[in-house]
Amino acid sequence: MMNAMLMSLVIAAPDGGEPSFSIAKMMAIIVSAIFINNYVLSRFLGICPFLGVSKQLDSAVGMGAAVVFVMVLATLGSWLVFHHILVPHGMEYLRTITFIIIIASLVQLVEMILQKFSPALYDALGIFLPLITTNCAILGVAVLNIDDKFSLGYSLVNSVAAGIGFTLALVLMAGLRERMETANVPEALRGLPLAFLIAGAMSIAFLGFAGLGG
């Protein structure tokens, strides 16, 4: 049922943008969001959880899944509200305030629903949910979808890809940090400084993806 609703919405894009959904553009969006403009390593969005929840591989995967989930819901909610409520009434200036309220309520809602109907999933993701409201990658993807004038279909693709990019960075970071635990690192660089150094090295590696866009 959810799918059917989405399909009809995609076709009825209100901004008169391209009506068709081109696979080439979709692939470009996916590659850009995951690799070229990785939300964490290139756009600097979601740094706090990237540094905070990347000490262990398990929690990195959990956090990543929670972020993808909320990102998609937040994109859906914020896009619909922006194009169907704010724009028709000329209230685009309320964008920031509306989006953050949508995200905060969504996180709360997801937490309550999971707790009630899927305790197993709640156990896995629950502890990460409160952290997500202040994860700037979520608000970031909602705002960037509007700035880039994406239709709802592209916005959802972009948010899934951004979430995957975030998870990829987080999981890679956690893997590297777990190995570094036992390494002999100069005392001054232990802890957070080392995390930044690893992130820097990963960021250099991701710079190499720049060529993909051409």
Partner: protein, 203 residues
């Protein structure tokens, strides 16, 4: 605690960036130039001071249950205000800070001070705390931007320091994303060494 302490705490002892690792996203993203760092610092300080002021003023009126949502609305209001004013009067800066202006809403420093300080303290100390934390954040960003702009572009606040020859072949990595992470690692490492020295000296 005295007002002077409220003020200086945010700049030195509890510096939001260097000591608490808060506000990392804008810190890493906008420090490509000193001008951007100053602009972001001013915008965040403005929001911080006014949100602290209002949260403290209404701390007895706002019910505990809707505390956080109310704070978020208050913060988002001032962020939008900055967004609109900057777009109207400083369009160039507005366009170069881009998405990081609306993202001030989710800057942990601001919600952190509302929840951790302003809702427990009187109005005046809360304002002073906001100014101190804001200046601490700005100072940290300007420090970082100084390294990045000089190394990566040979200039400081737009003034050419290292000459044409350097600007044609600068240490570009400093201004790119990896440079931000790596420089931050060394700055934090430096603070660790300083701290250890200080502790060692006190023994």
């Amino acid at each position: 605690m005295s007002l002077a302490q409220d003020f200086s705490r945010g700049i030195t002892k509890e510096n939001p960036v260097f000591k608490q690792a808060l506000g990392m996203c804008p810190f890493l993203a906008v420090t490509t130039s000193v001008e951007n760092a100053l602009g972001m610092g001013a915008a965040a300080t403005f929001v911080l001071v006014f949100s602290n002021f209002l949260v403290s003023l209404f701390r007895k009126v706002i019910p505990a249950k809707v505390r956080i949502p109310s704070y978020i609305v208050i913060i988002a209001t001032f962020v939008t205000l900055v967004d609109l004013l900057m777009n109207a009067y400083l369009p160039a800066l507005h366009s170069s800070l881009g998405i990081f202006i609306p993202l001030i809403v989710v800057n942990c420093i601001i919600l952190g001070r509302a929840e951790g300080f302003a809702n427990k303290n009187k109005v005046l100390p809360s304002i002073v705390d906001g100014i101190g934390m804001g200046l601490g954040f700005t100072l940290a960003m300007v420090t970082m931007a100084t390294f990045r702009e000089i190394l990566g572009n040979g200039s400081w606040l737009g003034f050419n320091l290292l000459g044409e020859a350097y600007q044609n072949q600068p240490l570009l990595i400093a201004i790119l994303a990896p440079g931000a992470f790596i420089l931050m690692a060394f700055i934090l490492g430096f603070f660790n060494i300083m701290e250890k020295r200080k502790r060692g000296g006190a023994k």
